[in-house]
């Protein structure tokens, strides 16, 4: 019996393509104009606090949270609000946004914020402070961090898993920040542990990142209940459910949250931002992203203000004419973007500009399923993607959800990645889930 020490069963090994692993984080020049989407997170969209022509300083709150599951937005540049209306979001919808034009005379160095003494805060106050920073899960999910820090009533979190796996190919942001800014990450971990009352924390890092393992281990202060775990390099190691299996050998119950088994799971980038912003009382205005892929002339890791149009980023790093696809996030789970007008959002951990040659997706002929069972052997959730795919083609969506656990699928893409018949399984599942949601809503 094979025991999966430091990993989880199934999964895939895509080529890692981490070309930018050695590229030190650079800061891009400020863009002339930014577009702040009011819904960059999961939950209620923020409500604009500014109107056309208001002047804002850098880091000033420009939109407030609506309710608990929501976060405020802050101005990433000092300038003048030019419009509060619609802009294209990464999902290809028109959504509410605030547009700010840079003020050439304004001071871009000074950042709005009120430093505070964190030691004196109660956990609840700390969580409120986290909400005020506008921090969301920066790994890609964009779930408000403070909501995660407050487990549902009756549940408590005693173990923290810090996700430094970065199992998606190409992406190197988490790696770079773990190498370059490990101290602030540790600060973030300690703050979150304090707020949640967690007793220990594990920093989970895949074993293809020895530098990060070393740097994080070095940054842990003596005696702190924080340890580094080296995990097997495998996709999707960075998923919450996989992490809890790999690190703690526990399963998150189906349909449940990690807090059901006393686990909280946070991305290193999120914790870095907390470690950086909380003591100064500032808001989230920029993030580090990897810009990579064959369509980019100067791939690297860049610190970029939120709301920067992708067109501007592409002008800065140089886009080749062969570029055919721009992906927000990694190639396995990322969203392809329909336009360069879309602004950078909190949930974008990378921008991949792929060429025809690199994509090799969808373009291939779709063959009938030959029941090779590779998808069954790849699915980390132990579903039967082949069967689900057949049901989806017959539009038996309810049956998929009720009898074959469709809703446990988190669309990691392993099944589609390995399918020799080029069947767009994940796309089928997304359609099925959307149809089920719509049917539920109709009821």
């Amino acid at each position: 019996m094979k025991s999966y020490v430091n990993s989880f069963p199934h999964g895939v090994h895509p080529p890692d393509c981490k070309y930018t692993a050695d590229a030190v984080i650079e800061t891009l020049p400020l863009p002339p104009e930014v577009t702040i989407l009011l819904s960059q997170h999961i939950g209620a969209p923020a409500k604009a606090l500014v109107a056309k022509k208001s002047k804002v300083m850098r880091g000033e709150p420009i939109a407030e949270a609506v309710g608990f599951v929501s976060v405020p937005m802050h101005a990433p540049i000092a300038g003048t609000v030019t419009a509060v209306d619609y802009a294209l979001n990464p999902r290809g919808e028109m959504a509410q946004a605030i547009k700010i034009k840079i003020d050439p005379d304004a001071d871009q160095e000074e950042i709005y914020g009120t430093p505070r003494d964190l030691a004196s805060l109660t956990p609840d106050e700390l969580i409120r402070a986290v909400q005020e920073t506008g921090t969301v899960g920066l790994g890609g999910a964009a779930f408000p961090t403070h909501v995660k820090m407050k487990p549902p009533a009756g549940k408590s979190v005693d173990t923290l898993i810090v996700n430094g796996c970065e199992c998606e190919p190409y992406l190197t942001t988490d790696f770079r920040i773990m190498v370059e800014e490990s101290d602030k990450i540790i600060t973030g971990i300690q703050l979150v542990m304090e707020a949640m009352g967690a007793k220990e924390a594990f920093i989970a890092i895949e074993n293809n990142k020895p530098e990060a393992l070393e740097s994080m281990a070095k940054a842990i202060p003596a005696g702190a209940p924080i340890s580094v775990r080296s995990l097997m390099t495998k996709y999707p190691q960075g998923a919450e459910k996989m992490l809890s299996r790999a690190v703690l050998h526990k399963d998150v119950p189906s349909g449940g949250l990690p807090s059901d088994i006393g686990v909280g799971c946070f991305n290193v980038a999120t914790l870095l931002q907390l470690g950086q912003l909380l003591p100064k009382g500032q808001g989230l205005i920029e993030r580090v992203i990897t810009v990579s892929g064959g369509g980019v002339e100067r791939p690297g890791n860049y610190r970029i203000p939120l709301g920067t149009p992708i067109r501007y980023i592409m002008e800065q790093v140089g886009i080749r004419p062969e570029a055919r696809k721009i992906i927000s996030g990694g190639p396995m789970m990322g969203m392809s973007l329909s336009s360069q007008d879309i602004p950078l959002t909190k949930g974008m951990s990378g921008l991949l500009v792929l060429t025809e040659e690199e994509m090799r997706d969808g373009g291939g002929t779709v063959y009938p399923c030959i029941k090779c069972a590779r998808c069954v052997d790849a699915c980390p959730i132990f579903l039967n993607p082949s069967l689900l795919g057949l049901l989806a083609r017959k539009a038996r969506y309810e049956e998929m959800a009720e009898e074959h656990h469709l809703n446990d699928c988190f669309e990691c893409g392993c099944c589609t990645y390995v399918c020799p018949s080029n069947i767009p399984l994940v796309q089928y599942f997304r359609i099925a889930k959307a149809m089920n949601r719509e049917r539920e809503a109709a009821k």
Partner: protein
């Protein structure tokens, strides 16, 4: 010999017959179920499309409801008028025929007028494409054009035109509502054919932004609301026709529309544009002095887009 064979056969059969007859009699008494024979008759006349437009789970359920008096025969929109009459006459009830209703599409943005700025690859279906960055059409509110509605129409009443826009054949449309449910952008709705003033656009954008995406987009100018103030009002940047005051929804409302977003649907289903809109559209589709009209037009659009 013959006599004995006959008596044995006859006797055995008689006994058996008596015994089993008794069993049958009991079974008849205990297990008898009455079913109205008229249900079968009505069901036989219905179109068996099981489309669900009547609001019941298929034709048989509808037939049962009609017999019980819970539904009027006219509620079956898929039947011809003759059939409805015949069912009504058979049951001696009122046909309950309402006005003919049809599905209407709130978008006119075919590929000739609305831009696609990204090329979608994957399963050829609107539902699938809409989940991938909205489908790649510049106007994120409009029709994606992969024909999911055509696929679900049980009456062959929907067809894609040459610009990848579905066209309702109002003669065949029975208002079953399948397309209303199917469209991922929720562009279809069911209307009586007397609702002739029709806003054929769903954009939330305004002015230049809307125009950049689609030549027939509503720019929110409000001229239609001015022309027919009793029936048309502006909601955000789209006109809304109050069909409760349909008698005020006059044809004059479309005459000043600069883009053709609001139009007039004739009783036979033809869509009529206002004079101004028709002229404007003519210019977009056949720009004067341009042999290389396609490229120059798209370049011009790009420039305006970049500067704007």
């Amino acid at each position: 010999m013959l006599i004995s064979a006959l008596s044995i056969a006859g006797g055995v059969m008689l006994l058996l017959g008596l015994l089993l007859a008794a069993v049958l009699a009991i079974a008849n008494k205990k297990l008898y179920v009455y079913e109205d024979p008229r249900i079968d008759e009505v069901e036989a006349q219905l179109p068996s499309a099981n489309c669900g437009a009547c609001g019941f789970a298929g034709c048989r359920a509808f037939a049962e409801a009609v017999i019980r008096g819970e539904a009027a025969p006219g509620q079956c929109t898929a039947s011809s008028a003759d059939t409805v009459e015949s069912i009504a006459a058979y049951l001696g009830v009122d046909a309950g025929v309402g006005e003919k209703r049809v599905a209407r599409l709130a978008c006119s943005g075919g590929d000739n007028v609305a831009r696609r700025f990204a090329h979608y690859e994957g399963r050829y279906s609107c539902r699938a494409a809409s989940l991938v960055a909205g489908g790649g059409k510049h106007c994120t509110f409009g029709c994606i054009g992969y024909g999911d509605c055509v696929a679900v129409c049980p009456f062959d009443a929907l067809h894609m035109n040459e610009h990848m826009l579905p066209v309702v054949d109002e003669a065949k449309c029975t208002a079953c509502g399948n397309c209303v449910v199917e469209c991922p952008k929720h562009l279809f709705s069911i209307h009586p054919i007397s609702h002739q003033l029709w806003v054929s656009c769903s954009t939330r954008l305004r002015g230049k932004d809307a125009k950049a995406a689609c030549a027939v987009a509503c720019i929110g100018c409000g001229l239609c609301a001015k022309a027919a103030p009793e029936a048309v009002s502006m909601d955000g940047n789209l006109p809304v026709v109050d069909y409760g005051k349909n008698e005020f929804a006059v044809r004059e409302a479309i005459e000043n529309c600069p883009s053709g977003a609001i139009l007039w649907v004739e009783r036979d289903g033809r869509r009529v544009l206002g004079v101004k809109a028709a002229a404007a559209l003519e210019k977009v589709l056949n720009p004067p002095e341009a042999p290389l009209k396609k490229t120059s037009a798209s370049e011009a659009e790009q420039k305006s887009e970049v500067s704007g």
